[in-house]
């Protein structure tokens, strides 16, 4: 199974950006852990991060081309604004999980809508940085269509 874990703007600052909300682990720490879990479970996990909306859309399109089985996406602030990411996700026929480190619904009202969730199969939020590894661990059990 091949999986893209796509991360949006400011996620590269994990570990230093408001650690009381997002924790002290860096994105590299999280990626290493997820890739390790993936190796054990026969899942090829590729981590990516961009501060640019268009680059993220490009990666979703790459996932379509490269016949990736699942996308885990933390679109960060673009969750609440990006119809382009919503549309790209709709074109991807594999399994899609929206992921957030914090629970956006508990924060400022401008974070309460999500363009990602209606285009996704599932939403996981507020489980901290551990949310990533919890999701990767669960992937073998989910109804992911065969490619």
């Amino acid at each position: 199974m091949k999986v893209y874990v796509i991360n949006g703007p400011n996620i590269n600052l994990l570990g230093t950006r408001e650690p009381e909300i997002y924790g002290y682990e860096t994105l590299d720490d999280i990626a290493t852990k997820c890739i390790e879990i993936g190796n054990k479970k026969g899942i090829d996990v590729k981590f990516m991060q961009s501060n640019y909306e268009g680059e993220m859309v490009g990666w979703i399109q790459d996932a379509i081309k490269n016949k990736i089985d699942a996308i885990v996406i933390n679109a960060a602030a673009y969750t609440h604004t990006s119809i382009a990411i919503h549309d790209a996700l709709k074109s991807f026929s594999g399994y899609k999980i929206e992921l957030h480190i914090s629970n956006p619904h508990l924060r400022e009202s401008f974070r309460h809508n999500t363009f990602v969730a209606p285009a996704a199969d599932a939403v996981v939020a507020g489980l901290g940085a551990d949310g990533y590894s919890h999701v990767v661990e669960m992937l073998p059990y989910l109804p992911i269509p065969e490619k």
């Binding site: 508990l106 969730a117 199969d121 919890h134």
Partner: protein, 155 residues
């Protein structure tokens, strides 16, 4: 000491067959079995409940939760409700999270796919609370795993 987990299921979840288009073949008893097995493997004592009575659900959340280290709740329609009961529900969850007890809201289906108006905010209580929606029975499993990890970190 064994950690104690309370899993609460709200109105209508006893019979999932009427919601086939969202839930497929899942039954609440199958979910309960799965949760029991996962908890056993993690050495967690589980109390799994369902009620169609919103007052009873609130009672579980407000009073019975005192005896537990963590709570997972599938509140069904509450996420889009704006009622007096919902305000009480929020307060109960806030109280739990202030005691640093992990609380995770779970849904079997992705509630955002069920024609929810995404421009209207989802109604959720204040306080630190996790949220998992759309993974079927695995919404519960991931929540149990997350709670186990969190409780072991604190201990």
């Amino acid at each position: 000491m064994k950690n104690k987990l309370l899993i609460l299921n709200g109105p209508g979840l006893a019979d999932l067959s009427i919601y086939d288009e969202f839930y497929g073949e899942i039954t609440l008893s199958a979910i309960k079995e799965k949760c029991k097995n996962v908890c056993k493997g993690l050495n967690i004592e589980l109390d799994f409940r369902q009620t169609d009575d919103e007052d009873e659900l609130l009672g579980f959340l407000l009073k019975d939760s005192e005896d537990f280290n963590a709570v997972i709740i599938n509140p069904v329609g509450y996420s889009h409700a704006l009622t007096a009961e919902f305000a009480k529900h929020c307060l109960a969850i806030k109280t739990l999270t202030l005691q640093k007890k992990p609380v995770i809201e779970v849904h079997i289906a992705n509630i955002f796919k069920q024609g929810a108006d995404i421009t209207k905010p989802l109604q959720v209580p204040e306080g630190q609370m996790g949220f998992v929606s759309g993974l079927g029975v695995y919404s519960y499993v991931i929540a149990i795993n997350a709670i186990s990890k969190k409780l072991n970190k604190v201990a």
